[in-house]
């Protein structure tokens, strides 16, 4: 499968702890902000999205926070599990363009 880039920032957490993955975005005109997860050997998988007019959205064990003032997006994972180990990518989308603009990834390692 695809190997993770050598220079990806890495977050290492203990199993059961909460994880927070951060992303800075550049385009204030984006309509949606999205988080994708990529496990080794697989393609990116959608986790959760948030509209630009919202500041918080919760899913199952995940919460996405959007701070438009400082152009910051974060993904919080509650009770992190070994299966959460992956590379996480933030992405943006303008409703008129239909394409995903990905940010740099963050590798999450979960220690047993």
């Amino acid at each position: 499968g695809e190997s993770v880039g050598l220079h990806l920032p890495t977050l290492s957490v203990q199993e059961g702890d909460n994880s927070i993955i951060n992303c800075a975005y550049s385009n204030s005109a984006s309509d949606y902000f999205i988080w994708y997860k990529q496990e080794s050997g697989k393609g990116p998988q959608f986790i959760i999205d948030i509209r630009s007019n919202m500041d918080k959205r919760q899913g199952q064990r995940v919460t996405v926070l959007l701070n438009k003032t400082v152009k910051h997006l974060s993904l919080q994972i509650a009770a992190t599990q070994p299966g959460d180990s992956a590379v996480y990518f933030c992405a943006e989308m303008k409703a008129s363009s239909y394409k995903l603009i990905f940010g740099s990834g963050t590798r999450l390692l979960v220690r047993p």
Binding site: G1, E2, G5, K42, F46, F89, M93, Y98, K99, G103
Partner: protein
């Protein structure tokens, strides 16, 4: 239901050769996208099909890349002639609804040009 499938999973070719990557989207998904990740950097958009038509090909790096989707089903991405900087992982994704933030990705094709 089968997900997005890509073939081959790996390809190693010499500089100057031609390679064709194939993507089979989820059945019924009119929207098909190609992305690539080069040298461990960000995943970059290449182009977007709606059925057999190219909706947006603004991400195609140069005219050595040719994408087709005849009949609006599977798609091919041909690189001719391949250069060293084309090495990377090429992803295909599909979605049913235009503008859906949830795109379904294939496992990718790792292309190595030597």
């Amino acid at each position: 239901e089968a997900g997005v499938t890509q073939f081959p999973s790996h390809s190693v070719i010499e500089k100057g050769q031609t390679v064709t990557l194939r993507c089979d989207p989820i059945s019924g998904h009119d929207n098909l996208y190609w992305y690539r990740r080069v040298m461990g950097k960000e995943i970059k958009f290449l182009l977007h099909f709606v059925k057999e038509s190219k909706q947006d090909e603004s991400g195609m790096p140069n005219n050595r890349f040719l994408a087709e989707r005849t009949g609006g089903t599977y798609s091919t991405l041909k690189v001719q002639p391949a250069e060293l900087e084309d090495s990377g992982v090429y992803f295909c994704a599909s979605s049913q609804v235009l503008g859906n933030t949830e795109a379904f990705f294939g496992q990718g094709t790792r292309l190595t040009v030597v």
